[in-house]
Symmetry: C2
Subunit: 203 residues, 2 copies
């Protein structure tokens, strides 16, 4: 049972990859990149530390340019992030070898998050199963599991070497001369998993 | 990490118990009963076959009587089942030793299912974590995992020795002289797990 799991190197996508593996899936981590920065390498680094297979899925720059437009129009990044995530799931689900896609989206997330009709539509259009191991977990549960499993580094978004959609989106907006403070909250702490805690993946 | 898991002996609650165990939880299965029938014993039997600890949680008959009223008024059982499930979660969450409650509700269920505000309210009112391992899984995924893990018996509701809320609700309604066909769909297949497939729980 092979599953392709959208992966940023963060806590949520790492925790859900671990749960998938514990459920008996053969997990391949997939980091989306638009060819603007090589930020995917931070996710690859974490994937290797955790012992998962990893690949990069390059998406068209049209998508991140459209996302940048959305973020500028809205004055906040939520709909832009949601837009990128939906396109990333579709691109992954459309690969011929892919029968199961997954991600680390969670119950308490506002974005990115597919509602029930969108989830079923993804499954039906691409004939895949869409699996979200964290959807039924609240923040207490996720915090408890994450603390038990991972060594995590927490810094402000701008300082952390990360591989999520926001990294390239920020870069593109900055290139376009946009003041990031008009779109992103000022102090937004982000996390990155740097390894297993204690005895490792089967701790 | 001890979790108390609402358990009927069916596929969904068995699959979610297995996932919880794989996630590192110490799982105790809990079957709700109203003292009308000893239907809890079928869940206990399955729990023992699967190797999980099991207890019965007796709830007030007022709850199932209220549920019967709801079902009669509605002409269908959905709101009645939802009502019982919410009371069952509250009763379990209110026990002093309970810090984590869980159930086998799934993405594609209409009832019973707590929406986001109700889930957070349960967690906040009783200071527990509420964990739903199947919430992020669609029917394809659940079918695939269930077929891989369990030997399942499928029969019509009326013939199957089960331990879910419906068994006592049907009995109570029948006792009250209600024609069950005015409330429940005629042919409603139900499933019951009877054991592990193949090499068992760590297959």
């Amino acid at each position: 049972m092979q599953v392709y799991h959208l992966y940023s190197g963060g806590k949520d996508s790492s925790l859900s990859a671990w749960i998938l593996e514990r459920m008996g899936y053969s997990v391949e981590l997939v980091t989306v990149n638009f060819g603007i920065l090589d930020s995917w390498k931070y996710a690859k680094e974490t994937a290797e530390k955790l012992g998962f297979r990893h690949r990069v899925l390059y998406l068209s720059q049209d998508i991140i340019e459209k996302a940048a437009e959305i973020a500028i129009k809205d004055g906040h990044p939520n709909n832009a992030i949601q837009f990128i995530h939906e396109r990333a799931l579709e691109a992954l689900a459309s690969l011929p070898e892919v029968e199961r896609v997954s991600d680390g989206t969670r119950r308490d997330d506002r974005v990115p998050l597919l509602d029930l009709p969108k989830s079923r539509s993804l499954e039906d259009r691409f004939n895949v199963a869409y699996i979200r191991p964290l959807l039924g977990l609240g923040y207490k549960t996720i915090r408890e599991l994450t603390e038990r499993l991972f060594v995590v580094e927490i810094r402000e978004s701008e300082q952390l070497e990360k591989a999520d959609y926001e990294v390239e989106l920020r870069h593109l907006l900055r290139e376009e001369g946009i003041d990031l403070l008009t779109i992103f909250p000022k102090s937004h702490y982000q996390s990155r998993v740097v390894g297993w805690r204690g005895e490792g993946r089967y701790d």
